[in-house]
């Protein structure tokens, strides 16, 4: 009996733990796949760094993952997705490189009936305008409103994902955007931290507003990419299999904090012993 063909893992990196919401969505979409996740926790946050620095960091993260053998690279960080995809694709021309912004933008344009779309993200992502630009590339006449929801990151990392404080903060950010009768009909969660606040965000939205979770849409883009390259079993075959893929964990600093906060984002318990510290 032949052992099933073992494909190389999918590499995922982020500046920290936020990308774990993308990994969680990837695991849900591709449960039999092996993953390597690298959190560049020593240098987070990327959002306050210059584009040149973020490109350099992204190339360093990719080099660590590429050296371990990956067949697809997921940039699970909005800041790095906005600045570094071109440099990564030039450096690794035969490696599929998928960021979080374009899948989210495409899903928003596909979801919205009115093409009036709201994007919430960190200050860095909003100021960079990457979602707005990606949406406008798909539909030049789309109306996009953007709002930096800086407190959501700290709220998610604190684990205060529901209850009156989370809902109060969500209302304070979102009500001004959605209070008008002709407000947006679609909201893009443009930060990998935000999916863990989904319930509180939904509680602050008028009925009928659709949510685009860029972690979920990125996982769907990876699945399409792997199928296009005939590198993934069909979803049905994957679901029939009992094989659960492995995850190798890498971080550049602070295994204990990575494990503690990461568990909130991953929705599974991570322990510090599982995390290998690498130097970039």
């Amino acid at each position: 009996m032949n052992a099933p063909l073992k494909l190389p893992p999918i590499g995922v990196f982020d500046s920290g733990v936020g990308g774990l919401t993308v990994l969680r969505a990837l695991r849900a979409a591709l449960p039999a796949e092996d993953f390597i996740y690298l959190g560049d926790t020593a240098r987070l946050p990327y959002g306050t760094k210059s584009a040149e620095s973020v490109i350099r960091y992204s190339l360093q993260c990719a080099a660590v993952l590429a050296a371990r053998g990956i067949r697809c690279l997921v940039v699970a960080c909005n800041t790095a997705s906005a600045s570094s995809l071109g440099a990564l694709r030039r450096q690794y021309p035969s490696l599929p490189v998928i960021g979080v912004i374009e899948p989210g933008a495409a899903a928003a344009v596909a979801t919205s009936s009115t093409q009036h779309i709201a994007v919430i993200a960190t200050e860095g992502t909003i100021h960079g305008g990457a979602y707005e630009a990606a949406i406008r590339r798909l539909n030049g006449s789309a109306r996009v409103v953007s709002c930096a929801c800086s407190l959501f990151v700290a709220l998610a990392e604190e684990g205060w994902t529901s209850g009156p404080i989370a809902e109060g903060i969500a209302r304070r950010y979102l009500e001004p955007i959605f209070c008008a009768d002709d407000g947006p009909d679609t909201l893009v969660l443009g930060c990998t931290h935000f999916p863990v606040l989904r319930a509180s965000i939904c509680a602050a939205l008028p009925p009928g507003v659709k949510l685009v979770d860029s972690a979920v849409t990125t996982a769907a883009a990876v699945l399409r990419q792997l199928h296009a390259a005939a590198q993934a079993p069909s979803i049905e075959a994957t679901r029939d299999s009992n094989h659960r893929g492995s995850i190798a964990w890498l971080a550049t600093d602070g295994a204990a904090r990575f494990a503690h906060v990461g568990s909130i984002f991953l929705g599974e318990t991570l322990s510090a012993e599982q995390i290998e510290i690498v130097d970039l």
Copy 2:
């Protein structure tokens, strides 16, 4: 007529804008003095970095300030104060170097009747235990309870310093510490961001709890140091003078954000044009 003797400025550095609460307190205590403030905004936050990195960053910040001629160095950053004072004093043996932790600890021990003291700070400061150690050096039998109030930093930077959200967050952090009858009688604000939240923090405290603002206590320590070295006019002379000292602004990245958020912390309007970007 002789021009008054012009003394070199006082150098102040922090990882970002939080240290501006210390500068604000210094300006209130020493209005005629000139200051140079350096915010290492390219590499903030220091709290998540290793001690070795923070010491290296602190020495780099100090070198920039020393090269411009300063007569006193204020480390307006808790993380750097906890790790770097020794290295800074060895590097600049003739320069007085004052951190934020020891003045806060001394004020807490002097203020508390019961020697049951609460310290709130960032996760990094609390885990490092520097305030607790500094208080125990002054009174080995003091009881110290510590709590990381991570959301306070984002709240302060967002400018949501009062109102129900700020008060709700303050209550969630502080009520468990102060709910017992024999709770602490003194609370140390062990993060330079926290003084801007003073009113919301006070609203969450039982009556009679005394607040120690480490920005104010650090400014008092600098004033004592300058008087001891006979480098400051008497407070009365300073108050009589109409001369208002200057501030030179340096940052390592993001002049616009530094100016915007910095204005909240400084309590004066800062403009991006005033800020010189330096590379470390």
